[in-house]
């Protein structure tokens, strides 16, 4: 059957979403390989269930929700496996050159985000890194908006406090 599949446009939209889906999945899994597995499963599921997607609603929100649900399912199945200890994550080289400072600073934020508890991380990835509204974030994660607000505020305050500390530490060691 050489006729072009009628869902080419849908596949193209999925491909356009890939970078954001991978970023969100990475925030959840903290591993690029796992993130790619998760995103691939989510995209295949979206293709399979595409008739459940209501045209006119946001495809990205739907895909983020599928990623989140698959991630939860996977964690449930692998509950016996211990979570990665955030302290074991690579912390970068504090004596790196000044020229790399911009990248180093960004790396610090990313490491701090990845060290947050998973519930806070998911909310932060959507509401802050993705810039989604609280309502969209709540819908994607399937939690009340009040829960989004409380998790997000804990995450953001922790982030602000930690960035403050690293900023001071760098200032102290630099001079």
């Amino acid at each position: 059957m050489p006729a072009p599949p009628p869902d080419d446009a849908f596949r193209r939209q999925l491909i356009d979403l890939l970078p954001r889906l991978r970023r969100f999945a990475y925030g959840l899994t903290r591993s690029l390989a796992e993130a790619d597995d998760l995103v691939q499963s989510a995209c295949l599921r979206a293709l399979e269930k595409r008739r459940q997607w209501q045209a006119g609603t946001r495809l990205d929100s739907w895909l983020f929700r599928i990623v989140q649900n698959l991630w939860i399912d996977g964690r449930r199945r692998l509950r016996h496996r211990e979570e990665v200890d955030p302290d074991s994550l690579p912390l970068g080289d504090p004596s790196a050159h000044r020229t790399a400072e911009a990248r180093l600073t960004l790396g610090a934020v990313e490491r701090l985000i990845l060290a947050l508890p998973v519930e806070q991380r998911a909310v932060l990835m959507l509401a802050t890194v993705e810039g989604m509204s609280y309502a969209e974030t709540a819908a994607i994660l399937g939690i009340p908006q009040g829960t989004v607000m409380s998790r997000l505020s804990r995450a953001r305050l922790a982030l602000a406090a930690a960035l403050d500390e690293t900023g001071n530490a760098e200032g102290a060691t630099g001079r």
Partner: protein
Amino acid sequence: MTPKRPEIQAGHPQQDRLVAYVDGELDIDEREAVQALIAGDCHAAAIVERLIASRDQAEGAFGAILAAPQPPHLLAAIETADAPASAPDWRARLGRLTHSRTWRLAVAPAALVATLLLSVVVATTPRDESGFTLASGGGLDIPAEVQPALPGLLDAGGGERQGRLAGGGAWRLFAAPAATPAAQDCFVVAFAGDALPRSAGLACPAEAGWRIATIALDPAP
């Protein structure tokens, strides 16, 4: 010695609202209330200042992933995944169907011949009052007295039913899971009866009941 900033570590009784304020999630009344709070509470003001700075840093986080080329295996998986049930590959499905045991044992030569001889017809019709769709003129051609057996068979996960028609003559009805990722939760169904048209179709869950698309229809022998 790292001077801590206790005002941040300690948080603030209204920290949820302060974060929502920074994120532009408050309506005008709440916004004005937070602005009044900040004006008279330097602890809150310090937190808001830090929240803004950290948000600006977090917004660009993981930008390297956005900028990176997409992994080829991911692109290939999306481009080559089976088409969804709305655009099924009927030929492949029939191939799988005709290899199933149910089909070989039960649907018997007639329906198989029908699939080979008849062009593939895809038809869906509106649901009837019972919430169960039976296509007329294009879908499964099942006598009215047998129709009630089908939803139960599908809800039971497939199987076989048989009986005799009021006017005499045996009938058999089969349903087997479609066993393809593109049509999960769907069943291949077939009806055969003495001196009755034979038909085979694909039944998929619909809002209230089942929707059946015809795979093949064979006129009465």
